[in-house]
Symmetry: C2
Subunit: 128 residues, 2 copies
DNA sequence: ATGATTATTAAAGTTAACTTTAAGGTAATT
DNA sequence: AATTACCTTAAAGTTAACTTTAATAATCAT
């Protein structure tokens, strides 16, 4: 199965210009063209995008993703390097999530205060 | 206790220019000045910053934080509105964290593949 | 065969969140 | 008295990640 850019925008939620931008930035490799020069995406492209989006959505900069893709293009000799990149990225994301939980605690504390304030205000309504 | 900007950079990890930028953007309210016009931060400022950083580090845009601070300045009549903001932000952050976990699954899957590939390569080393 | 839809490119524009620069003021140290 | 270490402002510059624009081309439906 092969798809034109419009179908990929619907599938990924990315705009056509973003898809072109990513391809030019070296993030989406091996996109073929039809006779008119229009992009044609196959299953392999879609699988790549699925994974690349996981990297982007977890905060990996596009230039780092490009570096990862470049290593992939070089072949199996770069396997260890790519694995190392993934391990480091995973560790970074997990650290960030741990931080977010700490910050969520502060937000929850604030919400608890709001609830107490609200309760007190209701009491006054009754007393006065 | 009161502090100059240098001490606050050490305390928060934010640069002096970022602190000035935040203040100008309406994110850090009620910062006083000494006789020479230099900023003086007190405990209340520091507590605010601590909370404001929780909002920023969980992805709230600076302009939204400014709106929140503006509501706070308006007084207790905006309590419900502020609570609503916090509830929505909390929900958004929790949704984002849930997404990140899904993406981490994909990264872990990739890592599992790398481990299998590595194991197979070692086997070949032994056989050949 | 004409208008709508879809695609292409290169280049310029946008936005958020800062950072840097330039020009200057004050205060303590040597 | 001069150097050092702070601080101030306004304005310009930076970076990442896109988006928009402009000019052009192919294909499809009426």
């Amino acid at each position: 199965m092969s798809y034109h850019i419009k179908e990929i925008t619907e599938l990924t939620g990315l705009s056509a210009s973003t898809l072109r931008f990513y391809e030019k930035a070296g993030v989406i490799p091996f996109v073929k063209r039809d006779i008119n020069g229009n992009r044609i995406y196959d299953e392999e492209n879609i699988q790549w995008m699925d994974f690349i989006l996981a990297l982007r959505e977890t905060g990996m900069p596009i230039n780092d993703i490009k570096n990862y893709v470049d290593l992939y293009k070089e072949g199996h000799s770069t396997l260890k390097e790519r694995k190392e990149m993934m391990l480091q990225h995973k560790a970074k994301v997990e650290e960030e999530v741990a931080q977010i939980f700490k910050y969520l605690d502060k937000i929850n504390y604030k919400l608890a205060l709001y609830n107490i304030l609200e309760a007190n205000m209701n009491e006054q309504d009754i007393i006065i």
